[in-house]
Assembly symmetry: C2
Homo-oligomer: 316 residues x 2
């Protein structure tokens, strides 16, 4: 069986034909103009998909199209109710709209949940039934997989682990609260703390690293820490403590078999993982009796969303 998996982003829509073994066959891309109405953006997407299917012939039938969408969704109605990054999208019935134009079943899911599903079926979570994925990027996205199915809260309105407060009265969050995990464990938060430390310490290695990279991004503190810079080590240590406290909360609530980290910061790989693992090991609840929770980085990279969207069609 083959499905089309589609990942809607703020600047582009990426898609691919994907087998039910999780293999990507062919890819396509559609640009997004944020000012366009959704009918234009998704109308263009449907044209691209129809053209794509004319140009690519497969031995197996195309079972449908899976969509990973940002924003607040109504999965029953197949509707994007609103999206912070696509402001013209208001109560847009994307499923019906697409089905009427591409004439095959369309399945809708939240982008973060769908990416977690992809990792849990074909990526770092494939050996496990209970998986939580945290995407450490501009914000902290999350997807929860319980018994191999997406869990997204009552009426699909939960699973916002990035908006779990870990410091009451902490940093201001875009959601209106203060101290959300997102304001400490996102790449944005890491860059904020990196810059603060650089201001405090003009001799920090982080200034040199920033020049080498041409910008101050989430890699700076990690690179300087690896070189032994004390300020950078402090920034990284604090970041890992806060991320790990979030993961420990997740362990005490869901006790997943694995927590998968993705997004820019997850590229730090083993350096990040071994420190997170050491932290959570020392503070795990019910230490003696509780089953251990693995921490891994995502293995599908930017394809997890597309592959997870296809899984919606395969009903995996």
């Amino acid at each position: 069986m083959i499905a089309i998996g589609v990942d809607i982003g703020g600047t582009s829509i990426k898609g691919a034909s994907i087998t039910d073994k999780g293999e990507i066959l062919d890819r396509f891309t559609c640009e997004v103009d944020k000012n366009d109405m959704p009918e234009k953006t998704i109308g263009d997407l449907c044209d691209v998909i129809n053209q794509f299917l004319k140009e690519h012939h497969y031995d197996e039938p195309i079972a449908g199209v899976g969509i990973g969408s940002p924003g607040v969704l109504d999965l029953e109605k197949g509707e994007v109710k609103s999206s912070p990054n696509l402001l013209t999208w208001e109560h847009f019935k994307i499923r019906d709209f697409m089905e009427s134009r591409i004439h095959m079943p369309v399945k809708l899911g939240n982008d973060a949940n769908v990416a977690a599903l992809g990792e849990s079926v074909f990526g770092s979570g494939k050996e496990y039934n209970n998986v939580v994925m945290l995407t450490l990027g501009t914000g902290v996205g999350s997807g929860i997989i319980l018994n191999k199915k997406i869990y997204d809260g009552n009426l699909h309105q939960g699973a916002e682990l990035g908006h779990m407060v870990i410091r009451v009265n902490g940093h201001k969050c875009g959601c209106g609260r203060r101290g959300c995990l997102e304001t400490y464990a996102s790449a944005t938060a890491l860059i904020r703390e990196t810059k603060k430390e650089m201001e405090r310490n003009p001799d920090s290695e982080m200034h040199k690293v920033t020049k080498e990279l041409g910008k101050c991004d989430a890699r700076v503190a990690f690179i300087a820490a690896r070189r032994g810079d004390k300020g950078a080590i402090r920034v990284v240590r604090n970041y890992i403590r806060d991320l790990s406290e979030g993961i420990l909360n997740i362990c005490n609530i869901f006790r997943p078999e694995v927590v998968i980290l993705s997004g820019g910061v997850a590229n730090e790989g083993e350096y990040l993982l071994e420190r997170v693992r050491a932290y959570i090991k020392s503070f795990d609840y019910g230490m003696v009796h509780s089953p251990k929770v693995e921490v891994k980085v995502a293995s599908l990279g930017y394809d997890s969303g597309k592959i997870g969207a296809a899984c919606l069609v395969f009903d995996k």
Copy 2:
């Protein structure tokens, strides 16, 4: 149908015969000596149950015995692995032990989860499918009901919402971490802050209230706040903020239809509820689109555990 519901506590075991309409028919009690081995304690319980069933005759058959137990459980094995309040209980196979002595099916559940089940089937949660209960007592216990079933994490080792950190590096918690919700929203935490404020302020109305009650318990700050004492109002306001932050985290993760509060502090009733509701209303994530979460107090009181344990037998 009738079942026996049993609630195991640190100082006594309470039980009752309960109909599948949630009505309590007759009650029994068993004292617990913490130093006894579990075979003695539960052997005595079985004798009491057998005697109870000899003395009470019902028109309907007894379908079985449901047990709400504290501690870390292995539900597959029907075993209490350990319990902080019953230190002699180590890998005690309570289900097999009881079934061999009372000759009917025994169902085991965690005490906090079972109490939440009771409230969700016959108490304040009966109109809802998705319920979270927080018990504000010595600690903060929690039970999560998703689609009318207990959700307790992978291998039944999650759902410890009281051990969700809301202040990294906050107050020391018995679990080994710092800043758990339990260290801010339990009755114990409220008493700690009440005493701190009384020390700071020798003229506080709270000293008078403490004298009237004969002790400084979790009611003192609420009573003095109702009388307009500024220090007490501050203590209550901070308590409600931290409790509400915990509830908001729960909303963002599970988006339950209702959060039920039980335990000593929940006796503050509407005074507590209206302030918690106002707080969570002002900081709810995705405010415009997210379904509202009700906050109520438990209606079954100390019977929720017994009734919930009976629900295990009724498979409700």
